[in-house]
């Protein structure tokens, strides 16, 4: 139980940190944009980790949920002229539905096979998007509306021009995801999921309906991933099959989660912020051409020396320290 409480504390600190950084940098569009990218990655990484770290079901194809969420919202807002908020809602609902639909047969597979099956879905969906009329094929969808412009009293919030406004929005989503994750881990559901992760056969023998918990984790994971995808289109305003189903959305969330530590809920968030900020603020500054090389080296070294991730290793060290004291 101690670990759970310390997890809450860490999540609280992280929440405060990202919120305060958003306040500090909201008027610097470049930093704000980098923070948006980091938050977006953090959200998807967190969502991936609810399924991966929480339930032990590794997916290599979260781009399937990201891209579909992005497309649904883009189509609803450009072709049916719905409000972006409704577009986002539509995206989340339909992607959760999609995830459950593919989840029931897919969960028969285990380990790497499950992981790759999801990857195959992402590729199939990309091919579908390339060949459909409604997605405009390879040309993609242009001029997707932003979240609009609002006035609260004297304060004007314009999502089209203000990176800061978008930053606060994605942070809101991220914090919602973070605390959903924390809540899940502490609840009965989370304990059942952990049992599934540790030993599925035993969990089943204990009378846990493993499929139900896996589907639940998948649904929640798909929900937040679609939320990220839908946010992305209303932020970037353009969508092509290449960008929607890009390997980036499948791979980087895993990298970020591992980098931060998959045994913790907050790990992926820490990992995403560290990776994106390191890349944009440090590596790119020092090495404008070879930055990806350093990036590759960086995560090879991290995996080798901190196999439990930064936060994971830190939490572990804390635990050991306490044990020794007591």
């Amino acid at each position: 139980m101690g670990r759970r409480r310390s997890e809450k504390k860490i999540a609280g600190v992280v929440t405060l940190l990202v919120l305060s950084s958003a306040f500090v940098f909201r008027r610097d569009p470049f930093v704000a944009h980098v923070l948006v990218q980091a938050s977006l990655l953090a959200l998807i990484s967190l969502a991936w980790n609810i399924l991966g770290g929480g339930c032990g079901q590794i997916s290599f194809g979260h781009a399937a949920f990201f891209g579909t969420g992005a497309y649904v919202s883009a189509i609803l807002t450009t072709q049916y002229h719905l409000n972006p908020w409704l577009g986002i809602a539509g995206a989340c609902v339909s992607v959760v539905f999609l995830s459950l639909l593919v989840g029931v047969p897919s969960f028969r597979l285990k380990g790497a096979y499950f992981a790759l099956l999801i990857l195959a879905y992402a590729h199939v969906l990309k091919l579908v998007a390339l060949n459909l009329e409604i997605t405009k094929g390879d040309e993609g969808i242009f001029s997707i509306p932003s979240f609009g412009r609002y006035s609260f009293g004297g304060m004007e919030v314009n999502f089209f021009t203000s990176k800061g406004a978008n930053l606060f929005l994605i942070l809101l989503f991220l914090i919602a995801g973070l605390w959903t994750g924390i809540w899940m881990r502490g609840s009965q559901t989370g304990i059942a999921m952990e049992a599934v992760r540790e030993d599925e056969v035993t969990a089943e023998a204990m009378g846990i309906d493993t499929l139900r918990y896996k589907l639940f984790a998948l649904g929640v994971s798909a929900f937040f991933t679609a939320l990220g995808g839908a946010f992305y289109v209303h932020y970037i305003h353009f969508l092509t099959p290449d960008s929607a189903y890009s390997g980036y959305w499948s791979l980087m969330p895993i990298v970020a989660a591992l980098f931060g530590g998959i045994r913790t809920v907050t790990g992926p968030v820490v990992g995403a912020f560290t990776l994106v900020c390191l890349d944009e603020f440090l590596i790119k500054e020092l090495l404008p051409r070879g930055d990806k090389l350093v990036y590759g080296l960086l995560f090879v070294v991290t995996i080798l020396f901190f196999p439990r991730g930064i936060l994971g290793t830190w939490v572990e060290r804390q635990g050991h320290g306490r044990k020794k004291e007591g």
């Binding site: 569009p29 470049f30 094929g137 242009f142 305003h237 290449d242 960008s243 980036y248 944009e280 051409r289």
Partner: protein, 393 residues
Amino acid sequence: MKKFTLFFVSFVFLLVLPHKGFGETVKIGVQYPLTGKLAKHGQGCLEGAQIAFDEFNSRGGKLKAKMIVVDDESSPQKGVAAVEKLIAREGVIGINGGYGSHIIGPSSETAAQYGVAYLSVGGVSSKLTARGLKNYYRVNNIPGYAKAQLGLIRDVFSGEKKVAIISNSKVATLDIANNIKKMLESEKIPVVFFEKFAAKTTNFDPLLLKVKESGANILIVEGYFPDYVATIRSAKTLGVKLDAYIGAWGVGSPEFIKELGPLSNYIYGTSLWEKGTAPKEARDEEKTFVDLFVKKFGKDPSYLSMLGYIGAKLMLEAAERAFERGKLNREGLLEELRKTDRVTPIGRVAFDEKGDPKYFTCLIIQIRGNDFTVVYPEDRKNADAVYPAVPWM
């Protein structure tokens, strides 16, 4: 205390440092994909842009230019990051670059929010100029490519013409394919085969066999380097009897001859520019560029580098005019860029109200031995087309 003083002094010194000297320095951003899928194109353009900046700074004018390069990693969101960084961080007043319409789209829109000019050389989607942005310009667009291909078939080739068109399903190539098909049909030239193929197709034999069965004697392939390599190989293997093989962009790059060797002989392609094809008025400029390029990089420039050079140069010229008017800022640069109208090595460049190039047409080149010859249009050609001829016959 001493340490603090030292620190303070050096800090102040650093702050003052950039402002020393008499002339003024204009900061221009250059955003290209230097890594990722489009790295090849981005790197080619960037090399050209470097020449433009070198040339500008060594010409002895009062205005100096600082080129700030950002890699967009072939990704739309990194493109936005690049633009934000260039404008908000580096304070550039104009941005040059971008390759790929899906990256240029969001990037140019971000630049529009600041009223910063965005001049691209690698975004051809018709939707880019349909957005009504006031800051977006480009030097090339799709119809120019198809017009040139049509001209070659209609005006240069003789005898019976049956055309097969195959196209990469990427939007830009498919766009040219659809354009040329319509144009050919309206000229009553029969298109006997038309099919798009998936990007990354590895085995072209079956498709080429279908082309063979169609009885076409002219094959147009709208694609990219790997597509040409694979289709030429397949056509040779299968002995497809053709009178001409016409590619789109990519044929006119030095690596095409270098890599394919004799298999590239007699292939036609569209090109924006080849060494020695500049219109009369721009011959000197072309020569200067080529000389500088060879000196700096030890190889011949490709059309990509020429594009990058022209893009950067037009931007710098606009900056210089704005400087002379005493209005070296975002609006000033934008106003001057809009007024651009001059003959460049790739032809006359001027923009319409949407930002599209008004006079853009392509050249048609044919590879002959180790050289590109320009065979169309009439006024810029330097050799007659060899027709019928394909490398495998």
